[in-house]
Symmetry: C2
Subunit: 350 residues, 2 copies
């Protein structure tokens, strides 16, 4: 793949970059005459036409019809992302915006994710997605049973990285409020700092036991396991409206298709399932997507978090003709900023 780009001389590389730039901005096939406006190109339109014919042969651009301008193909975007877009920095204004949006909810990772998705979608004028950070190995920090009624209680789990998970459970026998508090204390002593695996081992060690504690511990195992599973990732999706204002969605059919994709939680979940390492930003362009339906979309996805502790995902989704420079820099900035927040959360006093 890389060899394709190596076949290009310098002029053709800059030409390709300019074509992608133009197309990203105008959404219209780029004509050779139009490219003359760029001062970098000190050649005649005929030369440009020759070069474009070459780019077409290499599969980098295509033409909607015989006498039309060039439209970048997935491969051209890949080139653009590798050579141009990755070196951009997020604009200062965006940085300030992020800081203001996220410093409001001091220590609430759930709110961070929501805000991040919103800010990102606005910035890239496409869909923004963020998952709530999830622990690598979920460890229990605190357990509490809150009475709801005598045979039902609310099980509140506070995880090591301060995420809170709650679940109503039915009790096998009535409990008084005091009884539950005692039970909570006992559970706490036994379970603090334990992982799902630990708890499961404890449950199995006491096969003979039954009654309330066992039932509750099984529920705890289930919740902690959920915490560890990919499927359980809570995510926020914002800015469908922004994406639909892009010219590729003027047709009603395309717009409807996009709504279907975004409303389908499976699609979103898969999108955030296979993410790069911390700090890295991955760009998935058009056909590189595994999912059929995303063939005309690109995704810029990054992971934030603290290695070995907790991590979440930030992604921008839009048509393949999206502003990669902006998307990549925005996602990168958001991941590093959120990582900082998470890190501070971890280091904060016990």
């Amino acid at each position: 793949m890389q060899t394709v780009f190596e076949q290009l001389n310098e002029r053709r590389k800059t030409l390709l970059g300019l074509i992608v730039d133009d197309y990203i901005q105008t959404a219209a096939p780029v004509a050779s005459q139009h490219l003359l406006k760029h001062p970098e190109l000190k050649v005649s339109p005929a030369t440009i036409r020759n070069d474009m014919a070459e780019l077409e042969d290499l599969g980098l651009i295509a033409r909607p019809h015989t006498s039309a301008g060039g439209v970048p193909q997935d491969l051209a975007y890949r080139f653009y992302v590798e050579s141009v877009a990755s070196h951009t920095k997020a604009p200062r204004i965006f940085q300030v915006l992020v800081q203001e949006a996220l410093h409001q909810d001091e220590a609430d990772p759930e709110a961070w994710a929501r805000e991040a998705a919103g800010v990102l979608s606005h910035e890239v004028r496409n869909v923004g997605i963020a998952t709530v950070p999830r622990a690598f190995q979920a460890r229990i920090r605190h357990v509490q049973l809150v009475p709801v009624r005598d045979v039902q209680a609310l099980l509140v789990l506070v995880m090591q990285e301060r995420r809170v998970r709650q679940q109503r459970i039915n009790l096998p026998q009535p409990f008084t409020a005091d009884g539950l508090i005692d039970l909570s204390s006992a559970l706490n002593a036994a379970l603090a700092d334990k992982t799902a695996r630990d708890v499961r081992a404890m449950v199995e060690a006491h096969q003979a036991d039954n009654g309330a504690p066992r039932l509750i511990m099984e529920e705890i195992v289930r919740l902690v396991a959920l915490e560890e599973e990919q499927e359980a990732e809570r995510h926020y999706v914002e800015g469908l409206r922004d994406m639909l204002s892009q010219p590729e969605f003027t047709s009603g059919d395309r717009a409807r298709e996009a709504v279907g994709l975004v409303e389908d939680t499976d699609v979103i979940k898969q999108m955030t399932a296979d993410v790069p390492d911390h700090g890295e930003v991955r760009v998935i362009i058009g056909n590189e997507n595994r999912q059929e339906g995303l063939r005309h979309y690109s995704i810029v996805v990054g992971r934030y978090g603290v290695p070995g502790y907790a991590s979440g995902t930030i992604a921008a989704m839009g048509p393949t003709r999206m502003d990669y420079a902006r998307a990549i820099s925005s996602v990168r900035y958001l991941t590093s900023f959120l990582s900082g927040l998470l890190d501070a959360l971890r280091d904060s006093p016990e």
Copy 2:
């Protein structure tokens, strides 16, 4: 307004009903010849044309152009809703569907709302909206402080109708886990069965006090008050995709407009703000909407709940040409079913 309908003789009334019926199904202007298929009308097409001219004069139907069929206006839908649509019963299949969907989450009003919105949207092939039930006068059932870290805790409030509200709060001084449990017990003893007003009075009575308890109680007041306020209603919105499959949204612009409306939480909140009494179902048609943007939409909204105890809202939203009979019967069935669930929740053993 009622007088307009009184000017119509029986035949014209059934004619109007049939026109609305047809238009709801086909989304195309209804021609006089097409109406002949209905056996109820034992007259010639010419007579029908005369009658339709009359309906047009009264503003009940309009024609897109001089030689086109009739399109019902808001007023005609109003007539249709009053005279026809209100008497329909929800089909058995739908009832079973609702029962299955809602019996899964035994005693979780939050989940009920989510499921209800989804089921409704599917049934009416439009957007379904449901709010989580909210107490009339929020009463505290139980208070619990769960340690998160030494200067931060999770305040969990269980309300009288078993809704759970949680909020992280910062503590003015470090607390141990045991200290928080003691504090929780004290708070519980003092606050069980109290309303926001009660708590506020207690706070004011102890002006001199300060420190943790006072701070926490102020937070409790805020939360309980939120519980009582309209703005705090959590709601679920489902089925945008279904609505966009309606023919009025084939144009990209219309589709985009709809997405904007649904993504705008303000619009949804206003929609569920002014609701009818328990058991009643209100239909708001086109221009009857207060909000400019909803001029071409209708909303079928109902309240469920137990009077004097708690209530929530169920609504279907779609283009004015929506299946009112189906929407009204579905909303009515859902409200009564959810009311039953809530009632059972209240009567359940302490």
